[in-house]
Subunit: 315 residues, 2 copies
Protein backbone atom coordinates (compact mmCIF):
# COMPACT_ATOMS: atom_id res chain seq x y z
CA UNK A 1 0.00 0.00 0.00
CA UNK A 2 1.66 3.22 -1.13
CA UNK A 3 1.54 6.52 0.64
CA UNK A 4 -0.31 7.91 -2.34
CA UNK A 5 -3.04 5.28 -1.97
CA UNK A 6 -3.51 6.12 1.69
CA UNK A 7 -3.67 9.74 0.75
CA UNK A 8 -6.38 9.03 -1.84
CA UNK A 9 -8.49 7.14 0.66
CA UNK A 10 -8.17 9.96 3.16
CA UNK A 11 -8.87 12.75 0.72
CA UNK A 12 -11.51 10.95 -1.32
CA UNK A 13 -10.13 12.76 -4.37
CA UNK A 14 -9.38 9.63 -6.46
CA UNK A 15 -11.03 6.23 -6.84
CA UNK A 16 -9.46 3.45 -4.71
CA UNK A 17 -10.21 -0.32 -4.90
CA UNK A 18 -12.82 -1.27 -2.27
CA UNK A 19 -10.54 -3.86 -0.61
CA UNK A 20 -7.76 -1.31 -0.24
CA UNK A 21 -10.16 1.25 1.11
CA UNK A 22 -11.45 -1.26 3.64
CA UNK A 23 -7.96 -2.10 4.83
CA UNK A 24 -7.00 1.56 5.23
CA UNK A 25 -10.25 2.33 7.04
CA UNK A 26 -9.70 -0.65 9.30
CA UNK A 27 -6.30 0.67 10.30
CA UNK A 28 -7.70 4.12 10.84
CA UNK A 29 -10.36 2.53 12.99
CA UNK A 30 -7.73 0.68 14.99
CA UNK A 31 -5.74 3.85 15.43
CA UNK A 32 -8.84 5.64 16.62
CA UNK A 33 -9.18 3.57 19.77
CA UNK A 34 -9.67 6.02 22.64
CA UNK A 35 -8.17 7.97 24.35
CA UNK A 36 -6.35 9.34 21.31
CA UNK A 37 -8.49 12.23 20.09
CA UNK A 38 -6.30 12.74 17.03
CA UNK A 39 -6.80 9.21 15.77
CA UNK A 40 -10.51 9.46 16.44
CA UNK A 41 -10.65 12.67 14.42
CA UNK A 42 -8.86 10.88 11.61
CA UNK A 43 -11.53 8.15 11.61
CA UNK A 44 -14.66 10.27 11.92
CA UNK A 45 -13.20 13.02 9.76
CA UNK A 46 -14.36 15.52 12.36
CA UNK A 47 -12.01 17.61 14.47
CA UNK A 48 -14.62 19.67 16.37
CA UNK A 49 -12.47 22.65 15.58
CA UNK A 50 -13.59 25.80 13.80
CA UNK A 51 -11.14 28.43 12.58
CA UNK A 52 -11.91 32.13 13.02
CA UNK A 53 -9.84 34.34 10.72
CA UNK A 54 -9.89 37.98 11.82
CA UNK A 55 -7.60 41.01 11.56
CA UNK A 56 -6.83 41.36 15.29
CA UNK A 57 -8.43 39.91 18.43
CA UNK A 58 -7.50 43.06 20.38
CA UNK A 59 -9.86 45.21 18.30
CA UNK A 60 -13.03 45.10 20.47
CA UNK A 61 -15.34 44.07 17.62
CA UNK A 62 -13.69 40.66 17.14
CA UNK A 63 -13.81 39.27 20.69
CA UNK A 64 -17.59 39.77 20.52
CA UNK A 65 -17.70 37.85 17.23
CA UNK A 66 -15.51 35.11 18.74
CA UNK A 67 -17.71 34.80 21.81
CA UNK A 68 -20.93 34.63 19.75
CA UNK A 69 -19.38 31.95 17.57
CA UNK A 70 -18.14 29.95 20.55
CA UNK A 71 -21.53 30.10 22.29
CA UNK A 72 -23.39 28.99 19.15
CA UNK A 73 -21.00 26.09 18.51
CA UNK A 74 -21.43 24.75 22.03
CA UNK A 75 -19.07 22.88 24.30
CA UNK A 76 -17.99 20.15 21.85
CA UNK A 77 -16.34 22.65 19.51
CA UNK A 78 -13.35 24.89 20.01
CA UNK A 79 -12.43 28.00 18.06
CA UNK A 80 -8.93 28.47 16.60
CA UNK A 81 -8.04 32.16 16.39
CA UNK A 82 -5.99 33.47 13.46
CA UNK A 83 -4.87 37.13 13.57
CA UNK A 84 -4.08 38.32 10.05
CA UNK A 85 -3.39 42.01 10.77
CA UNK A 86 -5.34 42.53 7.52
CA UNK A 87 -2.33 41.21 5.60
CA UNK A 88 -3.35 39.33 2.45
CA UNK A 89 -0.37 37.01 2.52
CA UNK A 90 -1.20 36.07 6.11
CA UNK A 91 -4.80 35.44 5.12
CA UNK A 92 -3.70 33.07 2.35
CA UNK A 93 -1.29 31.27 4.68
CA UNK A 94 -4.00 30.80 7.32
CA UNK A 95 -6.48 29.48 4.78
CA UNK A 96 -3.90 26.86 3.73
CA UNK A 97 -3.08 26.02 7.35
CA UNK A 98 -6.75 25.61 8.28
CA UNK A 99 -7.27 23.32 5.33
CA UNK A 100 -4.25 21.24 6.37
CA UNK A 101 -5.53 20.96 9.93
CA UNK A 102 -8.88 19.66 8.70
CA UNK A 103 -10.92 22.13 10.71
CA UNK A 104 -14.62 21.34 10.44
CA UNK A 105 -15.39 24.84 9.27
CA UNK A 106 -14.10 28.35 8.95
CA UNK A 107 -15.43 31.84 9.65
CA UNK A 108 -13.75 34.79 7.99
CA UNK A 109 -14.23 38.43 8.93
CA UNK A 110 -12.94 41.44 7.00
CA UNK A 111 -11.18 39.10 4.60
CA UNK A 112 -9.56 40.75 1.64
CA UNK A 113 -8.58 37.75 -0.44
CA UNK A 114 -10.79 36.79 -3.32
CA UNK A 115 -12.93 33.70 -3.82
CA UNK A 116 -10.19 32.03 -5.85
CA UNK A 117 -7.81 32.18 -2.88
CA UNK A 118 -10.32 30.07 -0.97
CA UNK A 119 -10.60 27.51 -3.77
CA UNK A 120 -8.57 24.84 -1.92
CA UNK A 121 -10.78 25.03 1.13
CA UNK A 122 -13.97 25.06 -0.86
CA UNK A 123 -12.78 22.08 -2.94
CA UNK A 124 -12.32 20.13 0.29
CA UNK A 125 -15.96 20.80 1.05
CA UNK A 126 -15.13 22.69 4.23
CA UNK A 127 -18.09 24.86 5.31
CA UNK A 128 -17.24 28.53 5.18
CA UNK A 129 -19.09 31.59 6.47
CA UNK A 130 -18.11 35.19 5.74
CA UNK A 131 -19.09 37.93 8.16
CA UNK A 132 -19.38 41.35 6.57
CA UNK A 133 -17.99 40.58 3.13
CA UNK A 134 -19.99 39.35 0.16
CA UNK A 135 -17.52 36.65 -0.90
CA UNK A 136 -18.37 35.88 -4.49
CA UNK A 137 -18.83 32.10 -4.30
CA UNK A 138 -22.14 30.24 -3.98
CA UNK A 139 -20.64 27.84 -1.41
CA UNK A 140 -19.93 30.59 1.13
CA UNK A 141 -22.75 31.47 3.56
CA UNK A 142 -22.98 35.16 4.39
CA UNK A 143 -23.73 37.05 7.62
CA UNK A 144 -23.96 40.75 6.87
CA UNK A 145 -24.40 43.42 9.53
CA UNK A 146 -26.52 45.98 7.68
CA UNK A 147 -24.26 49.02 7.88
CA UNK A 148 -26.27 50.90 5.31
CA UNK A 149 -29.36 50.53 7.46
CA UNK A 150 -27.58 51.52 10.69
CA UNK A 151 -26.20 54.67 9.07
CA UNK A 152 -29.62 55.44 7.60
CA UNK A 153 -31.28 55.12 11.03
CA UNK A 154 -28.84 57.32 12.91
CA UNK A 155 -28.96 60.01 10.20
CA UNK A 156 -32.77 59.90 10.24
CA UNK A 157 -32.60 60.34 14.02
CA UNK A 158 -30.58 63.54 13.56
CA UNK A 159 -33.02 64.76 10.88
CA UNK A 160 -35.99 64.07 13.17
CA UNK A 161 -34.33 66.25 15.83
CA UNK A 162 -34.49 69.14 13.36
CA UNK A 163 -30.93 69.10 11.98
CA UNK A 164 -30.57 70.06 8.33
CA UNK A 165 -26.84 70.60 7.95
CA UNK A 166 -25.48 67.20 8.99
CA UNK A 167 -21.77 66.50 8.62
CA UNK A 168 -20.24 63.07 7.96
CA UNK A 169 -16.78 61.97 9.13
CA UNK A 170 -15.73 58.71 7.50
CA UNK A 171 -13.16 56.59 5.65
CA UNK A 172 -13.79 54.86 2.33
CA UNK A 173 -12.43 51.42 3.28
CA UNK A 174 -14.05 48.67 5.36
CA UNK A 175 -17.72 49.47 6.07
CA UNK A 176 -17.22 53.11 5.04
CA UNK A 177 -19.03 53.01 1.70
CA UNK A 178 -22.11 51.33 3.16
CA UNK A 179 -22.28 53.87 5.99
CA UNK A 180 -21.92 56.73 3.48
CA UNK A 181 -24.75 55.24 1.42
CA UNK A 182 -27.05 55.07 4.48
CA UNK A 183 -26.26 58.69 5.32
CA UNK A 184 -26.98 59.77 1.73
CA UNK A 185 -30.22 57.78 1.52
CA UNK A 186 -31.57 59.38 4.71
CA UNK A 187 -30.82 62.86 3.33
CA UNK A 188 -32.28 61.96 -0.07
CA UNK A 189 -35.54 60.75 1.49
CA UNK A 190 -36.21 64.18 2.96
CA UNK A 191 -34.98 66.05 -0.12
CA UNK A 192 -31.69 67.39 1.28
CA UNK A 193 -28.97 67.39 -1.40
CA UNK A 194 -25.69 65.61 -0.56
CA UNK A 195 -22.97 68.21 0.04
CA UNK A 196 -19.42 66.91 -0.09
CA UNK A 197 -18.21 70.00 1.77
CA UNK A 198 -19.98 68.64 4.87
CA UNK A 199 -17.88 65.46 4.79
CA UNK A 200 -14.33 64.87 6.00
CA UNK A 201 -12.03 61.85 6.26
CA UNK A 202 -11.26 60.71 9.81
CA UNK A 203 -8.95 57.67 9.63
CA UNK A 204 -11.17 55.43 11.84
CA UNK A 205 -9.33 56.69 14.95
CA UNK A 206 -9.53 59.46 17.57
CA UNK A 207 -6.86 61.80 16.19
CA UNK A 208 -8.38 61.49 12.72
CA UNK A 209 -11.86 62.25 14.05
CA UNK A 210 -10.49 65.19 16.02
CA UNK A 211 -8.82 66.71 12.95
CA UNK A 212 -11.85 66.10 10.69
CA UNK A 213 -14.23 67.71 13.19
CA UNK A 214 -11.93 70.70 13.59
CA UNK A 215 -12.01 71.22 9.80
CA UNK A 216 -15.81 70.96 9.63
CA UNK A 217 -16.24 73.47 12.48
CA UNK A 218 -13.91 76.00 10.82
CA UNK A 219 -16.32 76.43 7.88
CA UNK A 220 -18.35 79.65 7.63
CA UNK A 221 -21.58 77.63 7.83
CA UNK A 222 -20.65 74.60 9.98
CA UNK A 223 -22.93 71.58 10.50
CA UNK A 224 -25.24 71.55 13.55
CA UNK A 225 -24.81 67.76 13.83
CA UNK A 226 -22.07 65.36 12.78
CA UNK A 227 -22.32 61.62 12.16
CA UNK A 228 -18.94 59.93 12.62
CA UNK A 229 -18.66 56.53 10.93
CA UNK A 230 -17.19 54.95 14.08
CA UNK A 231 -17.09 55.68 17.81
CA UNK A 232 -13.36 56.38 17.99
CA UNK A 233 -13.73 59.18 15.44
CA UNK A 234 -16.80 60.47 17.33
CA UNK A 235 -14.87 60.53 20.63
CA UNK A 236 -12.11 62.50 18.86
CA UNK A 237 -14.79 64.79 17.41
CA UNK A 238 -16.22 65.48 20.90
CA UNK A 239 -12.76 66.59 22.05
CA UNK A 240 -12.37 68.81 18.97
CA UNK A 241 -15.75 70.47 19.53
CA UNK A 242 -14.90 71.05 23.20
CA UNK A 243 -11.53 72.51 22.26
CA UNK A 244 -13.25 75.34 20.34
CA UNK A 245 -15.84 75.87 23.07
CA UNK A 246 -18.85 74.21 21.43
CA UNK A 247 -21.38 72.67 23.82
CA UNK A 248 -22.55 69.14 22.97
CA UNK A 249 -25.31 68.48 22.00
CA UNK A 250 -26.70 72.05 22.28
CA UNK A 251 -24.32 73.66 19.76
CA UNK A 252 -23.26 70.59 17.86
CA UNK A 253 -24.76 67.10 18.13
CA UNK A 254 -22.37 64.17 17.59
CA UNK A 255 -23.17 60.50 16.91
CA UNK A 256 -20.91 57.52 16.34
CA UNK A 257 -21.18 53.93 15.15
CA UNK A 258 -20.28 50.54 16.77
CA UNK A 259 -21.17 51.11 20.46
CA UNK A 260 -17.75 50.22 21.83
CA UNK A 261 -17.43 50.00 25.64
CA UNK A 262 -16.01 53.52 25.86
CA UNK A 263 -19.11 55.01 24.17
CA UNK A 264 -21.02 54.77 27.44
CA UNK A 265 -18.10 56.14 29.49
CA UNK A 266 -17.19 59.35 27.67
CA UNK A 267 -18.77 62.68 28.50
CA UNK A 268 -21.33 63.33 27.16
CA UNK A 269 -22.24 59.67 26.72
CA UNK A 270 -22.22 58.91 23.02
CA UNK A 271 -25.35 58.28 20.96
CA UNK A 272 -24.37 55.58 18.48
CA UNK A 273 -25.35 52.48 16.53
CA UNK A 274 -24.83 49.06 18.13
CA UNK A 275 -22.95 46.91 15.65
CA UNK A 276 -24.28 43.36 16.18
CA UNK A 277 -20.90 41.65 16.52
CA UNK A 278 -21.98 38.98 19.01
CA UNK A 279 -25.11 38.19 16.96
CA UNK A 280 -23.00 37.94 13.80
CA UNK A 281 -20.67 35.40 15.44
CA UNK A 282 -23.64 33.47 16.75
CA UNK A 283 -25.36 33.37 13.35
CA UNK A 284 -22.11 32.26 11.69
CA UNK A 285 -21.84 29.45 14.25
CA UNK A 286 -25.38 28.25 13.51
CA UNK A 287 -24.78 28.31 9.75
CA UNK A 288 -21.58 26.32 10.23
CA UNK A 289 -23.15 23.72 12.51
CA UNK A 290 -25.97 23.17 10.03
CA UNK A 291 -23.39 22.50 7.32
CA UNK A 292 -21.10 20.37 9.49
CA UNK A 293 -23.89 18.12 10.72
CA UNK A 294 -25.51 18.04 7.29
CA UNK A 295 -28.83 19.35 8.62
CA UNK A 296 -28.70 21.95 5.85
CA UNK A 297 -27.26 21.14 2.45
CA UNK A 298 -29.02 23.67 0.22
CA UNK A 299 -28.09 26.88 -1.54
CA UNK A 300 -25.93 29.54 0.08
CA UNK A 301 -27.70 31.42 2.85
CA UNK A 302 -27.48 35.16 3.50
CA UNK A 303 -28.50 36.76 6.79
CA UNK A 304 -28.71 40.54 7.10
CA UNK A 305 -28.40 41.73 10.73
CA UNK A 306 -30.09 44.99 11.68
CA UNK A 307 -28.01 47.23 13.94
CA UNK A 308 -29.90 49.17 16.63
CA UNK A 309 -29.80 52.86 17.52
CA UNK A 310 -28.46 53.55 21.04
CA UNK A 311 -29.68 56.95 22.29
CA UNK A 312 -27.53 58.60 24.93
CA UNK A 313 -26.53 62.25 25.60
CA UNK A 314 -24.39 63.47 22.69
CA UNK A 315 -27.31 63.94 20.25
Amino acid sequence: MSRTTVSHVLSGNRPVAPATRTRVEQVIDELSYRPNGLARSLRIQRTHTVALIIPDITNPFYPMVARGLDDALGVRYRTLICNTDADREQERAFAADVSDRKADGMVIVAFQVEARDLADILELGMPLVSIGDRIDDPRVDLVLPDDEHGAFEVTRYLLSAGHVRIGFVWEPDGPGQHRLEGYRRALREVGIPYDEKLTALGGWNRPGGHAAMARLLEASDPPSAVFCANDLMAIGAIAAARAVGRRIPEEVAIVGYDDIDAAAMVSPELTTVANPAYEAGQAAGRFLLDRITGSYTGERRTLMLRPGLVKRRSA
Copy 2:
Protein backbone atom coordinates in the same frame (compact mmCIF):
# COMPACT_ATOMS: atom_id res chain seq x y z
CA MET B 1 -3.37 -6.43 15.79
CA SER B 2 -5.88 -5.41 18.44
CA ARG B 3 -7.14 -1.94 19.11
CA THR B 4 -5.55 -2.19 22.53
CA THR B 5 -2.15 -2.86 20.97
CA VAL B 6 -2.47 0.18 18.72
CA SER B 7 -3.48 2.18 21.71
CA HIS B 8 -0.40 1.03 23.63
CA VAL B 9 1.90 2.02 20.80
CA LEU B 10 0.28 5.42 20.56
CA SER B 11 0.23 6.11 24.27
CA GLY B 12 3.57 4.54 25.10
CA ASN B 13 1.99 3.40 28.37
CA ARG B 14 2.72 -0.33 27.97
CA PRO B 15 5.52 -2.36 26.37
CA VAL B 16 4.79 -3.56 22.81
CA ALA B 17 6.84 -6.03 20.74
CA PRO B 18 9.29 -4.18 18.45
CA ALA B 19 7.88 -5.79 15.28
CA THR B 20 4.34 -4.79 16.19
CA ARG B 21 5.48 -1.29 17.04
CA THR B 22 7.25 -1.03 13.69
CA ARG B 23 4.16 -2.13 11.80
CA VAL B 24 1.93 0.35 13.61
CA GLU B 25 4.44 3.13 13.10
CA GLN B 26 4.70 2.25 9.44
CA VAL B 27 0.95 2.58 9.01
CA ILE B 28 0.94 5.84 10.92
CA ASP B 29 3.71 6.98 8.64
CA GLU B 30 1.71 6.00 5.58
CA LEU B 31 -1.33 7.78 6.92
CA SER B 32 0.74 10.85 7.53
CA TYR B 33 1.46 11.43 3.86
CA ARG B 34 0.65 15.06 3.13
CA PRO B 35 -1.72 16.82 2.84
CA ASN B 36 -3.40 15.22 5.85
CA GLY B 37 -2.33 17.34 8.81
CA LEU B 38 -4.17 15.12 11.28
CA ALA B 39 -2.23 12.01 10.31
CA ARG B 40 1.01 13.96 10.41
CA SER B 41 0.17 15.20 13.89
CA LEU B 42 -0.46 11.60 14.91
CA ARG B 43 3.00 10.61 13.69
CA ILE B 44 5.04 13.51 15.05
CA GLN B 45 2.91 13.77 18.21
CA ARG B 46 2.72 17.52 17.68
CA THR B 47 -0.48 19.38 16.83
CA HIS B 48 0.93 22.92 16.75
CA THR B 49 -2.07 23.89 18.80
CA VAL B 50 -2.02 25.65 22.16
CA ALA B 51 -5.12 26.00 24.33
CA LEU B 52 -5.84 29.27 26.12
CA ILE B 53 -8.30 28.85 28.99
CA ILE B 54 -9.77 32.19 30.11
CA PRO B 55 -12.98 33.43 31.73
CA ASP B 56 -14.26 35.47 28.77
CA ILE B 57 -12.61 36.73 25.57
CA THR B 58 -14.90 39.81 25.58
CA ASN B 59 -13.28 41.14 28.79
CA PRO B 60 -10.59 43.44 27.31
CA PHE B 61 -7.75 41.96 29.38
CA TYR B 62 -7.93 38.55 27.68
CA PRO B 63 -7.70 39.54 24.00
CA MET B 64 -4.40 41.23 24.87
CA VAL B 65 -3.17 38.03 26.53
CA ALA B 66 -4.35 36.01 23.50
CA ARG B 67 -2.57 38.32 21.08
CA GLY B 68 0.69 38.26 23.05
CA LEU B 69 0.54 34.46 23.17
CA ASP B 70 -0.21 34.19 19.46
CA ASP B 71 2.64 36.54 18.54
CA ALA B 72 5.14 34.66 20.71
CA LEU B 73 4.13 31.26 19.33
CA GLY B 74 4.61 32.40 15.75
CA VAL B 75 2.87 31.39 12.54
CA ARG B 76 3.19 27.61 12.91
CA TYR B 77 1.03 27.53 16.05
CA ARG B 78 -2.63 28.35 16.49
CA THR B 79 -4.43 29.22 19.72
CA LEU B 80 -7.63 27.44 20.76
CA ILE B 81 -9.82 29.71 22.89
CA CYS B 82 -11.84 28.26 25.78
CA ASN B 83 -14.24 30.64 27.59
CA THR B 84 -15.03 29.26 31.05
CA ASP B 85 -17.14 32.15 32.44
CA ALA B 86 -15.17 31.45 35.62
CA ASP B 87 -17.19 28.25 36.08
CA ARG B 88 -15.16 25.50 37.73
CA GLU B 89 -17.03 22.67 36.02
CA GLN B 90 -16.35 24.31 32.66
CA GLU B 91 -12.68 24.65 33.58
CA ARG B 92 -12.46 20.94 34.38
CA ALA B 93 -14.28 19.98 31.17
CA PHE B 94 -11.93 22.13 29.08
CA ALA B 95 -8.86 20.66 30.71
CA ALA B 96 -10.10 17.16 29.81
CA ASP B 97 -10.98 18.25 26.26
CA VAL B 98 -7.58 19.86 25.73
CA SER B 99 -5.87 16.71 26.93
CA ASP B 100 -7.96 14.59 24.53
CA ARG B 101 -7.13 16.88 21.62
CA LYS B 102 -3.42 16.49 22.30
CA ALA B 103 -2.73 20.20 22.31
CA ASP B 104 1.01 20.87 22.55
CA GLY B 105 0.53 23.09 25.57
CA MET B 106 -1.93 25.04 27.64
CA VAL B 107 -2.11 28.52 29.14
CA ILE B 108 -4.56 29.15 31.96
CA VAL B 109 -5.59 32.56 33.27
CA ALA B 110 -7.71 33.23 36.36
CA PHE B 111 -8.14 29.50 36.82
CA GLN B 112 -9.92 28.44 39.98
CA VAL B 113 -9.42 24.68 39.88
CA GLU B 114 -6.70 23.19 42.00
CA ALA B 115 -3.52 21.46 40.96
CA ARG B 116 -5.14 18.03 41.34
CA ASP B 117 -7.73 18.90 38.68
CA LEU B 118 -4.85 19.36 36.27
CA ALA B 119 -3.30 16.01 37.14
CA ASP B 120 -4.37 14.28 33.90
CA ILE B 121 -2.80 16.97 31.77
CA LEU B 122 0.38 17.08 33.82
CA GLU B 123 0.67 13.27 33.73
CA LEU B 124 0.59 13.46 29.93
CA GLY B 125 3.59 15.75 30.13
CA MET B 126 1.71 18.59 28.48
CA PRO B 127 3.49 21.91 29.17
CA LEU B 128 1.33 24.25 31.21
CA VAL B 129 1.72 27.93 32.07
CA SER B 130 -0.45 29.83 34.55
CA ILE B 131 -0.86 33.60 34.21
CA GLY B 132 -1.72 35.35 37.43
CA ASP B 133 -2.29 32.35 39.68
CA ARG B 134 0.37 30.54 41.69
CA ILE B 135 -0.75 27.02 40.77
CA ASP B 136 0.76 24.76 43.38
CA ASP B 137 2.55 22.21 41.19
CA PRO B 138 6.26 22.26 40.31
CA ARG B 139 5.50 21.35 36.67
CA VAL B 140 3.50 24.55 36.02
CA ASP B 141 5.46 27.60 34.84
CA LEU B 142 4.19 30.90 36.23
CA VAL B 143 3.79 34.38 34.72
CA LEU B 144 2.70 36.82 37.41
CA PRO B 145 1.80 40.45 36.78
CA ASP B 146 2.99 42.15 39.95
CA ASP B 147 -0.25 43.69 41.20
CA GLU B 148 1.20 44.44 44.60
CA HIS B 149 3.95 46.49 42.97
CA GLY B 150 1.55 48.33 40.63
CA ALA B 151 -0.69 49.30 43.54
CA PHE B 152 2.34 50.36 45.57
CA GLU B 153 3.60 52.60 42.74
CA VAL B 154 0.32 54.38 42.12
CA THR B 155 -0.25 54.96 45.84
CA ARG B 156 3.29 56.31 46.18
CA TYR B 157 2.53 58.66 43.27
CA LEU B 158 -0.47 60.06 45.17
CA LEU B 159 1.64 60.40 48.33
CA SER B 160 4.36 62.23 46.40
CA ALA B 161 1.72 64.73 45.20
CA GLY B 162 1.08 65.60 48.86
CA HIS B 163 -2.01 63.50 49.56
CA VAL B 164 -2.28 62.09 53.06
CA ARG B 165 -5.87 60.89 53.24
CA ILE B 166 -5.99 58.41 50.37
CA GLY B 167 -9.10 56.30 49.85
CA PHE B 168 -9.16 52.81 48.36
CA VAL B 169 -12.08 51.34 46.38
CA TRP B 170 -11.67 47.60 45.82
CA GLU B 171 -13.03 44.05 45.91
CA PRO B 172 -11.42 41.13 47.77
CA ASP B 173 -11.52 38.56 44.93
CA GLY B 174 -9.23 38.26 41.89
CA PRO B 175 -6.22 40.60 42.18
CA GLY B 176 -7.92 42.59 44.95
CA GLN B 177 -5.84 41.35 47.89
CA HIS B 178 -2.54 42.03 46.11
CA ARG B 179 -3.64 45.56 45.21
CA LEU B 180 -4.75 46.20 48.79
CA GLU B 181 -1.36 45.01 50.01
CA GLY B 182 0.47 47.40 47.65
CA TYR B 183 -1.68 50.30 48.85
CA ARG B 184 -1.00 49.40 52.49
CA ARG B 185 2.74 49.01 51.96
CA ALA B 186 3.02 52.47 50.35
CA LEU B 187 1.19 54.04 53.31
CA ARG B 188 3.29 52.07 55.79
CA GLU B 189 6.56 53.20 54.21
CA VAL B 190 5.73 56.85 54.96
CA GLY B 191 4.25 56.09 58.38
CA ILE B 192 0.56 56.64 57.57
CA PRO B 193 -1.63 54.16 59.46
CA TYR B 194 -4.08 52.07 57.46
CA ASP B 195 -7.63 53.35 58.06
CA GLU B 196 -10.41 51.00 57.05
CA LYS B 197 -12.90 53.90 57.04
CA LEU B 198 -11.09 55.22 53.94
CA THR B 199 -11.85 52.00 52.01
CA ALA B 200 -15.05 50.89 50.27
CA LEU B 201 -16.09 47.91 48.15
CA GLY B 202 -16.78 48.71 44.50
CA GLY B 203 -17.79 45.48 42.71
CA TRP B 204 -15.16 45.82 39.92
CA ASN B 205 -17.68 47.80 37.80
CA ARG B 206 -18.81 51.38 37.16
CA PRO B 207 -21.99 51.40 39.28
CA GLY B 208 -20.07 49.82 42.17
CA GLY B 209 -17.29 52.41 41.89
CA HIS B 210 -19.86 55.20 41.70
CA ALA B 211 -21.62 54.04 44.89
CA ALA B 212 -18.34 53.46 46.77
CA MET B 213 -17.03 56.93 45.86
CA ALA B 214 -20.32 58.53 46.91
CA ARG B 215 -19.98 56.89 50.34
CA LEU B 216 -16.36 58.01 50.76
CA LEU B 217 -17.23 61.62 49.83
CA GLU B 218 -20.11 61.74 52.33
CA ALA B 219 -17.72 61.37 55.27
CA SER B 220 -17.02 64.38 57.49
CA ASP B 221 -13.32 64.18 56.58
CA PRO B 222 -13.30 62.74 53.04
CA PRO B 223 -10.14 61.60 51.21
CA SER B 224 -8.35 64.09 48.93
CA ALA B 225 -7.37 61.24 46.58
CA VAL B 226 -8.89 57.84 45.82
CA PHE B 227 -7.19 54.79 44.32
CA CYS B 228 -9.75 52.52 42.62
CA ALA B 229 -8.56 48.92 42.13
CA ASN B 230 -9.69 48.91 38.49
CA ASP B 231 -10.46 51.47 35.79
CA LEU B 232 -14.18 50.73 35.57
CA MET B 233 -14.58 51.56 39.27
CA ALA B 234 -12.44 54.69 38.76
CA ILE B 235 -14.64 55.84 35.84
CA GLY B 236 -17.70 55.33 38.05
CA ALA B 237 -15.92 57.25 40.82
CA ILE B 238 -15.27 60.20 38.49
CA ALA B 239 -18.99 60.39 37.72
CA ALA B 240 -19.83 60.23 41.46
CA ALA B 241 -17.38 63.04 42.30
CA ARG B 242 -18.80 65.16 39.47
CA ALA B 243 -22.35 64.50 40.65
CA VAL B 244 -21.59 66.20 43.98
CA GLY B 245 -19.73 69.08 42.31
CA ARG B 246 -16.14 68.04 43.11
CA ARG B 247 -13.50 69.12 40.59
CA ILE B 248 -11.02 66.44 39.47
CA PRO B 249 -8.13 66.42 40.25
CA GLU B 250 -8.20 69.78 42.13
CA GLU B 251 -10.69 68.74 44.84
CA VAL B 252 -10.32 65.00 44.60
CA ALA B 253 -7.68 63.07 42.65
CA ILE B 254 -8.74 59.68 41.22
CA VAL B 255 -6.56 56.85 39.88
CA GLY B 256 -7.45 53.46 38.45
CA TYR B 257 -5.75 50.21 37.50
CA ASP B 258 -5.51 48.23 34.22
CA ASP B 259 -5.31 51.00 31.58
CA ILE B 260 -8.30 49.82 29.53
CA ASP B 261 -8.96 51.62 26.22
CA ALA B 262 -11.59 53.85 27.79
CA ALA B 263 -9.10 55.19 30.37
CA ALA B 264 -7.62 57.52 27.75
CA MET B 265 -11.05 58.60 26.47
CA VAL B 266 -12.87 59.66 29.61
CA SER B 267 -12.76 63.20 30.95
CA PRO B 268 -10.50 63.91 32.71
CA GLU B 269 -8.25 61.26 31.18
CA LEU B 270 -7.54 58.64 33.83
CA THR B 271 -4.19 58.21 35.56
CA THR B 272 -3.79 54.47 36.02
CA VAL B 273 -1.51 51.43 36.06
CA ALA B 274 -0.91 49.55 32.80
CA ASN B 275 -1.56 45.88 33.46
CA PRO B 276 0.92 44.01 31.23
CA ALA B 277 -1.60 41.65 29.61
CA TYR B 278 0.12 41.47 26.21
CA GLU B 279 3.51 40.92 27.83
CA ALA B 280 2.05 38.18 30.04
CA GLY B 281 0.66 36.34 27.01
CA GLN B 282 3.96 36.75 25.21
CA ALA B 283 5.99 35.43 28.17
CA ALA B 284 3.62 32.47 28.52
CA GLY B 285 4.12 31.70 24.83
CA ARG B 286 7.91 31.75 25.20
CA PHE B 287 7.79 29.47 28.26
CA LEU B 288 5.56 27.03 26.36
CA LEU B 289 7.70 26.99 23.22
CA ASP B 290 10.79 26.26 25.30
CA ARG B 291 9.00 23.27 26.85
CA ILE B 292 7.44 22.04 23.60
CA THR B 293 10.69 22.12 21.68
CA GLY B 294 12.63 20.76 24.66
CA SER B 295 15.03 23.71 24.69
CA TYR B 296 14.25 24.06 28.40
CA THR B 297 13.67 21.01 30.59
CA GLY B 298 14.58 22.32 34.02
CA GLU B 299 12.73 23.38 37.14
CA ARG B 300 9.52 25.44 37.02
CA ARG B 301 10.10 29.04 36.01
CA THR B 302 8.43 32.11 37.52
CA LEU B 303 8.38 35.50 35.83
CA MET B 304 7.11 38.57 37.69
CA LEU B 305 5.96 41.33 35.32
CA ARG B 306 6.20 44.92 36.51
CA PRO B 307 3.17 47.06 35.65
CA GLY B 308 3.90 50.69 34.72
CA LEU B 309 2.32 53.91 35.97
CA VAL B 310 0.42 55.86 33.27
CA LYS B 311 0.15 59.54 34.24
CA ARG B 312 -2.77 61.44 32.70
CA ARG B 313 -5.11 64.15 34.02
CA SER B 314 -7.19 62.70 36.85
CA ALA B 315 -4.39 62.80 39.46
